[in-house]
C-alpha cells in the first residue's frame, strides 16, 4: 500500500528554492543524524543540522530564523560524511542566502566589531564573513 503525504503548494515553493540554490535533493535525507554527530558547532546551535534538513523537507520557513544557519562555519565535515551524498554545506548556504535576500538586512554588523579586532584580523576573516553574512 502506498500512502501519500502531499506537500502543499505554498510549502513546495520554499523547498524548491532551497533545492534550486543548493543544487541538492532535500528528500534524499533519511535522518540518520551523522551530520549532527560530527558537527563541531552544535554546542551553539538551536537546531541540529539534521533537524534543519527535516524542517526544509516540511517546507517550514521558520528554519530561516534559527541560529544554526549563522553558526555553520562551512567546515564541510557533514558534507564529506553524509551517507546519502548530500552536500549540507550547500543547503546551509542556500538558507543563509534566502534569509539575507528576504530580510534585505546584513547579519554581520560592522559597527559591532571591536576596533582591536579590526586592527588584528587578517583580511580573510572580514572578507569571508562579509561573503557569508551580508546581502549581495
Amino acid at each position: 500500500m502506498i500512502v501519500k503525504f502531499p506537500i502543499k503548494e505554498e510549502y513546495m515553493e520554499f523547498i524548491k528554492k532551497v533545492e534550486d540554490i543548493s543544487a541538492q535533493n532535500i528528500f534524499s535525507c533519511y535522518q540518520c543524524g551523522k551530520c549532527s554527530a560530527g558537527c563541531p558547532m552544535i554546542s551553539s546551535m538551536d537546531l541540529l543540522p539534521n533537524q534543519v534538513i527535516r524542517m526544509v523537507q516540511f517546507g517550514n520557513k521558520e528554519v530561516l530564523s534559527s541560529k544554526t544557519i549563522w553558526v555553520c562555519a562551512t567546515c564541510y565535515t557533514c558534507s564529506i560524511r553524509c551517507p546519502k551524498g548530500i552536500d549540507l554545506a550547500k543547503i546551509m548556504e542556500a538558507l543563509r542566502i534566502i534569509a539575507l535576500r528576504e530580510k534585505k538586512a546584513d547579519f554581520l554588523k560592522y559597527s559591532k566589531i571591536s576596533s582591536e579586532d579590526i586592527e588584528r584580523m587578517p583580511q580573510i576573516a572580514l572578507v569571508s564573513a562579509s561573503r557569508k553574512f551580508t546581502v549581495w
Binding site: A73, A125, A129
Partner: protein, 301 residues
C-alpha cells in the same frame, strides 16, 4: 641553480599580516631549487568558495586568477601548476577550478569567458596545488630530512589541519579523515609529531567576526586537546586558523584562568628553522604567543 619554476598565487594575508608565512615558504623551496613565481597581477580569490548554484558572479575572482596562472605558465613553461599557500585560497581556487573544468558545466565556463571579455579565455588546464603537495611530490620528505641543520628532536609538535586542506574530499591534499602530510613534515625536520583528537576540527573560521565567544570556546577545546596530548607547539597552514589559534588565546586566558598559552607556527616556519634559515625570517615578534623561547630552550647546539 633553479630546476623548477612554478606559478604562485600568494593571496592577501601573506602580503599583509602574515608576510612571515610567505617569506619562509619561498626560502624553504629555494633550498630545494624550486622557485615560486608570483603571478604578475592578481586579485582576491574571494576567500570562500561560492556554494550557491545560481550566481556565477562569485566564480569570477578565482577564474581571473586561473587565467593569469594559465598565461604565466605559458611563459615559464615548466608545468600547468598553480601553487597556493593559504588554505582558504587553495580551497576556493581549487573548488572553482573543479567547477570550471567539469564537462557538464561547459555552459557556465562559456558564460564566464564571454562576460570577462577583457581577459583571454580560460582553457581549463591549470592544476591547483597546495604548497604541501609540492613538498611531498616534488621535494620529498626524505630530501627535507637530509638537509636538516638544527636539532629539533626534543620538540613535540601537534599538526593542526583545520578544514580547508582536507574538505570537501575532492580537494583534499591527503586522506580527509586520516591525514599524515603534516606529521610527515614534522618528522622530516626531526621533531616528534603529536597527533591529537581535534586535529581537523573547525576553529570557528569567520565566526571570529560575528561570534568571537564561539571561537574562543572552540580554540580552548582544540588547544587543550593538543596540550593534553603533550604538544609544545602547533603547526597550521591557514592564516585564519592561525589568527584564531594564536591571537584568540588572549581571550581564552581571560576566560579560563588556568589556561597556559601554547605557540602556534606556520609549518613553513618550522621547516625554515629546521633547514637552518635565519630565525629572524620567521618574524616571531608578530605572533601573539611568541615561540622564540621554545627554540632557545630546546635547541641543543
Amino acid at each position: 641553480m633553479i630546476l623548477l619554476r612554478l606559478a604562485y598565487f600568494p593571496g592577501c594575508s601573506l602580503k599583509s599580516d602574515y608576510q612571515n608565512f610567505e617569506k619562509t615558504a619561498i626560502e624553504v623551496l629555494r633550498i630545494f631549487n624550486i622557485e615560486l613565481v608570483e603571478l604578475p597581477r592578481w586579485n582576491c580569490c574571494g576567500t570562500v568558495f561560492s556554494l550557491s548554484s545560481d550566481n556565477l558572479m562569485n566564480y569570477l575572482a578565482p577564474a581571473r586568477i586561473l587565467i593569469r596562472a594559465q598565461e604565466l605558465n605559458k611563459q615559464i613553461g615548466n608545468s600547468n601548476i598553480l601553487v597556493t599557500l593559504c588554505s582558504m585560497c587553495y580551497n576556493t581556487i581549487k573548488q572553482t577550478n573543479n567547477v570550471l573544468t567539469a564537462d557538464e558545466n561547459r555552459d557556465k565556463i562559456d558564460t564566464i569567458n564571454a562576460f570577462m571579455d577583457d581577459e583571454v579565455d580560460y582553457e581549463g588546464n591549470v592544476v591547483v596545488k597546495h604548497y604541501l603537495e609540492i613538498l611531498r611530490d616534488y621535494v620529498g620528505f626524505d630530501k627535507i630530512a637530509e638537509n636538516i641543520k638544527r636539532d629539533l628532536s626534543k620538540l613535540k609538535i601537534a599538526p593542526y589541519y583545520g578544514c580547508l586542506l582536507l574538505r570537501p574530499d575532492v580537494v583534499a591534499v591527503d586522506d580527509p579523515e586520516q591525514p599524515k602530510i603534516l606529521s610527515e613534515i614534522i618528522k622530516s625536520v626531526g621533531a616528534e609529531p603529536v597527533e591529537f583528537p581535534l586535529f581537523n576540527e573547525c576553529c570557528g573560521a569567520y565566526n571570529t567576526v560575528t561570534n568571537p565567544d564561539l571561537v574562543i570556546e572552540k580554540i580552548y577545546q582544540i588547544l587543550t586537546s593538543a596540550k593534553e596530548s603533550g604538544a609544545d607547539a602547533i603547526i597550521t597552514s591557514c592564516p585564519l586558523c592561525f589568527f584564531n589559534l594564536d591571537y584568540r588565546q588572549k581571550y581564552v586566558s581571560q576566560k579560563y584562568s588556568q589556561f597556559s598559552k601554547i605557540p602556534i607556527l606556520y609549518f613553513t616556519q618550522l621547516l625554515a628553522i629546521g633547514l637552518g634559515l635565519d630565525i629572524s625570517l620567521c618574524e616571531f615578534n608578530k605572533h601573539f604567543v611568541d615561540p622564540t623561547r621554545l627554540f632557545k630552550e630546546r635547541r641543543s647546539e
